[in-house]
């Protein structure tokens, strides 16, 4: 009965707290990547299809923003939503909403940069061809996304992977509150801090199963589309 056994045991035993933590992680990551995708995919298509001065520089900046440190984002959002910050009135700090905002900001440049570079590698004549065939602007948008759907999906998955495994923003903005904002990563940090490496590792294995599961599911959906 090794660590792997304990991880699987934790899941099948139906320990309500482990399930809640896993569900919280999944919920936060899904929402933040969905929000990031909704904003970043259209913008990424725009950047890829339009030619404008400073485009290369913008792409370089975007791809370096993919490496934005999670604690920096945590700190910035913290300063913004703390009661003594500009958005303090909303009382967002240490709530699920705060974590989702932070993680969406982390996911945004990942989706944007990967979408833009994927669509940039499409045939540059595609929009023109489509226009001569009588496609509307919206038509060009959807056909481009469709053409590069594999890469766009990868971008979405990369952003999900980025946020489900991050601990900085989740800890600073969520506060690791039991039954509320405790995620798999903050729970691992807590268990390790309390000297329970085995439980920490078991939770880590659950985290990897989650990430793998979501990836497999989305790939399956695309294949059977």
């Amino acid at each position: 009965m090794g660590v792997l056994g304990r991880a699987i045991g934790l899941l099948v035993s139906g320990d309500p707290e482990v399930w809640f933590i896993t569900w919280t992680s999944l919920r936060f990551s899904l929402f933040s990547s969905i929000i990031a995708c909704a904003a970043a995919i259209p913008l990424g298509v725009l950047i890829a299809l339009k030619r404008f001065p400073g485009r290369r520089a913008l792409l370089a900046v975007l791809s370096s923003l993919m490496a934005l440190p999670t604690v920096v984002v945590g700190l910035l959002v913290y300063a913004l939503i703390s009661r003594s910050g500009p958005l303090g009135k909303m009382g967002l700090l240490f709530t699920p909403g705060a974590v989702i905002i932070g993680q969406a900001i982390l996911a945004f440049p990942v989706v944007l940069s990967l979408t833009a570079s994927a669509l940039s590698s499409l045939n540059p004549l595609l929009p023109e061809v489509l226009t001569t065939l009588g496609a509307t602007r919206r038509g060009i948008f959807w056909m481009s996304v469709r053409e590069a759907r594999g890469a766009v999906l990868s971008a979405a998955l990369a952003s999900f992977g980025r946020v489900i495994g991050e601990v900085g923003a989740a800890m600073m903005l969520g506060g690791n509150i039991r039954w509320y904002t405790r995620t798999l990563t903050t729970a691992i940090a807590l268990q390790t801090g309390m000297g329970d490496f085995e439980l920490g590792l078991a939770l880590g294995i659950i985290l990897m199963i989650m990430a793998l599961g979501v990836n497999a599911l989305l790939h399956w959906v695309v294949r059977h589309e």
Partner: protein, 268 residues
């Protein structure tokens, strides 16, 4: 497709309560109240009694008080008397009550390379650690324990600096685990030590009982005149609970391996 996006956004809005409801009490506390397991027996009866949900944010006492100053929490439960007094003097905190106390202990490797075992004064033990250059791990996180540790270095007239002095910047549990892994000395509150010592086979208590190691815990409400949005009523209910006879009994009766971790201040 617009519709699909709208549906997704509506789902997001419906599933995530974006702001805290008033039925939650946000409490910033030191890591020792959480790591020692006390809060997991002290808070549930309060939640049952009042219908409030207590959100525990466990950080060092210094940061906990900072969260109170910013109005990000409703109540703080900490152990750093100097900082607590400043917090109140500056008008951020009101209605401080003594809750409980225990003491700090100096723990170190079984082999005790600095030969501190038997020293009655913590300052003396610290002097020997520094003189022998044995590794000492400091919390380094502006926690109550960190403040106490720096006080003792001050008393010992030693400068906590050098390659033997590791400034970890972590919670009590993490630091004990680190000390256990590398055979180092550290200062711990007795509660966390007792709760965790089963996982720390390479460490033992080497100095205890000095009055300089006294460790009092207090609970303070965040001043609603500074921060009108704090849940002051809930904070006062919590203060009432931890200083009530029932709450104090929970503290008194909380044991790990048959040993009490904290002594309540209100009841005997």
């Amino acid at each position: 497709m617009r519709k699909a996006t709208l549906v997704v956004l509506a789902l997001c809005a419906a599933l995530i309560p974006l702001s805290a409801q008033s039925a939650r009490l946000k409490m910033a506390t030191t890591t020792s109240t959480l790591d020692s397991g006390l809060l997991s027996v002290l808070n549930p009866p309060f939640e049952k009694l009042t219908g409030l949900t207590v959100d525990v944010i466990a950080v060092g006492s210094g940061k906990a008080i900072k969260l109170g100053e910013n109005g990000d929490v409703d109540v703080v439960f900490v152990h750093d008397r100097k900082l607590e007094d400043k917090f109140i003097a500056q008008g951020y905190g009101v209605n401080r009550r003594d809750v409980m106390h225990n003491d700090f202990v100096v723990v170190g490797p079984l082999s005790d390379p600095a030969r501190i075992s038997g020293s009655a004064a913590a300052a003396d033990a610290f002097s020997r650690i520094s003189a022998s250059g044995s590794t000492f791990i400091s919390r380094g996180d502006a926690s109550g324990t960190n403040a106490k540790e720096l006080d003792i270095w001050d008393k010992a007239g030693r400068k906590p600096a050098g390659s033997w002095y590791k400034d970890a910047g972590q919670g009590m549990g993490e630091v004990l685990v680190m000390a256990n892994s590398i055979g180092a000395y550290t200062l711990s509150d007795r509660g966390t030590w007792l709760a965790m010592k089963g996982k720390l086979p390479a460490l033992k208590i080497l100095c205890e009982g000095d009055s300089a190691l006294f460790n009092p815990y207090g609970v303070i409400a965040v001043n609603p005149q500074k921060h009108p949005d704090v849940n002051y009523m809930a904070a006062m209910q919590y203060i009432a609970w931890v200083t009530s006879v029932q709450g104090q009994r929970v503290i008194r009766d909380y044991t790990v391996d048959g040993q009490a971790l904290f002594t309540p201040d209100v009841i005997r």
